[in-house]
């Protein structure tokens, strides 16, 4: 069969159908899609915990102390008879809330500082970068421990604001350093010079011209640092500096009585450990795939 070109004689324009970006992401980044699926499941669990959790996460049931996994308690119970599956579902709420908020605060402040440092340059850049060098010299967990020890706790509506700060602060210098390097290239672009010549304020140039152009590395780091933040929250809670009992939190579920009963009731540490590992793994997979997806060099 011969195709008849209806537009014969007219200039030919290649009109390739744009693939659905979600389907394309799933096709080209299957591991990242799997990570995203796990994240979505966790997020759904966190949002609908009140509906899907079979028990009250804080209700003590002495008749069910240290019960092994069963149909009634699929992940078993802890030393207070609390259902571990329920506490993991509610723990997702704690982990994702603190993880997302901490990562968002840390990455946003880090991006603003990094872009400002690159834009102003000179002594401002020098001063900011040396201060960032100092902060970067501390391992992330040590810096978080210092912050939480200094600022203490400030629970507002069940969320410890100071814990979020303690996790966000170590993220700031790391993001600032990466964003600064991206912003240095953007600062040299003609449109930035044009904006400056046009008499726009520094704030206008930073927020309208520089920050939108570092969105790709910002999004990648935001995803990656959610995993870091979840891990940090779990570590701080494990050390007794994060979320307090009886609130359900994965790191907290690994400490306290778990260390006394892990031989008799290994399910007390296995399931929260799996939840932490799986979520962190999922965020890392998704973050890596997102980086590949958004980076033109990787696309080629």
């Amino acid at each position: 069969m011969t195709a008849i070109d209806q537009n014969a004689g007219a200039p030919t324009v290649a009109r390739r159908r744009q693939p659905n970006p979600v389907l394309a992401f799933i096709r080209f980044q299957p591991l990242g899609a799997a990570g995203l699926l796990v994240i979505l499941i966790m997020a759904a669990a966190a949002i609908f915990a009140d509906v899907i959790a079979p028990y009250d996460p804080e209700a003590i049931d002495f008749m069910a102390m240290l019960t092994a996994p069963s149909w009634e308690h699929p992940f078993g119970t802890d030393a207070f008879g609390r259902d571990i599956m329920t506490r993991i579902i509610y723990g997702a709420r704690t982990a994702l809330t603190i993880g997302f908020v901490s990562s968002f605060v840390g990455c946003s402040l880090g991006a603003i500082i990094g872009v400002s440092s690159a834009y102003f340059g000179g002594r401002v850049d020098l001063t900011i970068q040396r201060f960032i060098d100092i902060l970067l010299s501390y391992p992330i967990i040590v810096l978080a421990l210092v912050v939480v020890a200094v600022v203490g706790r400030q629970p507002i509506a069940g969320i410890d604001i100071n814990l979020i700060l303690a996790i966000a602060i170590p993220i700031i210098p790391r993001v600032a350093r990466v964003v600064r390097s991206a912003a240095l290239a953007i600062r040299a672009m003609p449109y930035v010079d044009a904006a400056r010549a046009g008499g726009y304020s520094d704030a206008h140039i930073i927020f309208r011209h520089l920050l939108p152009n570092v969105l790709a590395p910002y999004l990648i780091m935001l995803t990656a640092y959610v995993a870091q933040a979840i891990l940090l929250e779990a570590s701080l809670s494990f050390l007794g500096l994060g979320v307090s009992e009886p609130k359900p939190a994965w790191g907290l579920m690994l400490s306290g009585d778990s260390s006394n009963f892990y031989q008799e009731a290994p399910w007390m540490i296995i399931f929260p450990g799996v939840a932490i590992s799986l979520t962190v793994f999922a965020f890392n997979l998704f973050g890596d795939s997102l980086r590949d997806w958004l980076d033109p060099k990787f696309k080629t």
Binding site: E58, A59, I60, F62, M65, L66, A79, F80, R153, P155, G158, G240, S244, E245, P246, K247, G256, D257, S259, N260, F261, Q263, E264
Partner: protein, 524 residues
């Protein structure tokens, strides 16, 4: 849980060292034992923590002491004999002859006077935690170098117990004259062991004092108290790096050590003169309302909590203000009549809800301050769960020890998980915690209740035991009605050690029998 119970039963059976006690004590060896927490001072008079007591006890003597193996009978330590006048207003003690301090100087009645004067009237810059125990002493006299006489302003039924307090370490008068704070930084007494060194965060070492006044004692060449965290202690004992820990383990820690040591484990269990308390800040609304405090106490199922929490923590039986099972304690039947101790929890909680409604606090939310270690956290989780069942929401604020003290002493709390321990069951020692705040700095509920104070004073001067017990019951009844501070559960003391450690005496308090003068190491 069944396996745990069987293991616990086996452990208790192992606690019967009858055969070993008939053996002849063996001289020699160094006892390595574990202790948590660093001592904030070396001065017995200035503190109440076991971190000081267990380290310094081997270096000091006291005037009287509790008889090893026969608590609460009192015998002489430095006192060879004593008399009490018929009106109970004069106590005369004859001291043992030729007792030497570790610097070679001979102990006389002047050292006793200097020591007790320091406790009763501390000079500027000296802290005396036991001052209130001796407020009824009019004077300390020394008619000759071997005699010390205490004249009383009025009768104090607790005086002999106070003289046996392990906290009244006898110091050298000469050293106190040079520096009244000498004991805060130096350790020099007449006890069985001389002080060698304290390396902060690492260890405390003592060696045998050859001139100790009990001939043939101590048996050990020395001891080494190793500082470590509670979790490290379990592993250290299980791994035979230390031979003992004298404060106490939880049932699960006991089971882990027994599993590791097998037949070499020795477990000794007792009730403990240490109890968990829920204390309300009566200066803060709505906790100034007795209905609210009483409702919160009524909501707690002490009997049910005890049965379960005793399997997973050091928390044990319910009790009043004096140790359950002691000669001063109420029976369980009597306890059931107190608010918050009835076994019908549905009725208790209905009454609690009614009281909250009456007080306009149906949607009460509060912050429960707590320490961040076991079994405090366990108690906090339990209490919060109990309060949820009457619609009260509590935020669990867990803090370090220093903050815990600081917040309670400054009144920056609404309610907190409190605890109290003493060296003896004597009612004056323990009821003191619940008197008015202006009389007792440890009564951190911050209330003033002259009815309680009057009952406290009356029992303190009542020598007749039956009448005194009746007064203790009246004190308890008044306190439970007002509920400024309410006991939660009493602790169970579980001491686990390597069976090679012999001659140590178990007691309901971890503050006594720690001079190690009778302890020896069996050959294994």
């Amino acid at each position: 849980m069944k396996a745990l119970t069987l293991l616990s039963a086996a452990a208790v059976l192992l606690a019967l060292p009858a055969a070993a006690q008939t053996e002849t004590p063996r001289r020699g060896g160094v006892l390595n034992w574990a202790i948590a927490a660093e001592p904030p001072t070396y001065d017995c008079h200035a503190t109440g923590t076991f971190a000081v007591m267990q380290r310094v006890a081997p270096h000091y003597s006291t005037l009287m002491k509790f008889e090893p193996g026969n608590y609460p009978n009192i015998v002489g330590d430095l006192a060879e004999s004593w008399t009490v006048s018929p009106d109970s207003l004069t106590y005369t003690f004859k001291l043992r002859p030729n007792v030497k301090f570790h610097d070679g100087s001979v102990l006389t009645s002047a050292d006793l006077k200097a020591t007790y004067d320091r406790i009763i009237n501390p000079p500027d810059g000296v802290i005396s935690n036991r001052q209130s125990s001796f407020v009824k002493v009019a004077s300390v006299e020394t008619p000759d170098p071997q005699t010390v006489v205490f004249k009383m302003k009025e009768v104090d039924a607790s005086m002999m117990t106070n003289f046996a307090s392990p906290w009244n370490c006898v110091y050298s008068a000469a050293k106190l004259k040079q520096d009244p704070n000498f004991p805060a930084k130096n350790v020099m007494g007449t006890g069985p062991f001389k002080f060698v060194e304290h390396v902060a965060g690492s260890h405390w070492r003592g060696e045998r004092f050859e001139d100790y006044f009990r001939k043939g004692h101590p048996y050990l060449d020395g001891f080494r108290a190793v500082t470590m965290s509670s979790s490290a202690m379990t592993n250290a004992l299980a791994g035979r790096q230390v031979d003992a820990e004298f404060r106490g383990f939880s049932p699960t820690e006991r089971d882990r050590i027994v599993r590791a040591l097998g037949k070499d484990a020795k477990v000794q269990e007792s009730s403990w003169l240490l109890h968990m308390i829920v204390t309300f800040n009566t200066e803060k609304k709505p906790f100034d309302d007795p209905r609210v405090r009483r409702a919160l106490s009524l909501a707690i199922d002490r009997w049910g909590g005890s049965a379960s929490l005793s399997k997973i923590s050091s928390l044990g039986v319910p009790g009043g203000l004096v140790r359950p099972g002691s000669e001063w304690s109420a029976s369980p039947k009597e306890m059931e009549q107190w608010p918050g101790y009835g076994r019908d929890m549905a009725a208790n909680r209905a009454e609690a809800r009614r009281l909250l409604k009456e007080a306009g606090q149906e949607n009460l939310t509060l912050t429960l301050m707590d320490r961040n270690i076991a079994p405090y956290v366990t108690a906090g989780i339990f209490v919060i769960d109990q309060w949820r069942q009457i619609g009260v929401k509590a935020e669990h604020q867990q803090v370090e020890l220093a903050s815990w003290y600081s917040l309670q002493n400054s009144g920056q709390f609404e309610a907190f998980i409190d605890s109290f321990t003493q060296f003896s069951d004597d009612p004056s020692n323990v009821l003191y915690k619940y008197a008015s705040y202006d009389r007792s700095p440890v009564a951190v509920h911050r209330a003033t209740d002259r009815e309680l104070d009057a009952l406290f004073d009356e029992q303190a001067r009542t020598a007749d035991k039956a009448k005194r017990i009746a007064l203790v019951r009246r004190f308890e009844k008044r306190l439970f009605e007002q509920a400024y501070s309410v006991p939660l559960l009493w602790w169970q003391r579980i001491v686990v050690m390597n069976d090679r450690v012999q001659g140590w005496t178990m007691s309901p308090t971890h503050m006594i029998y720690q001079d190690l003068g009778d302890v020896w190491l069996a050959e294994k």
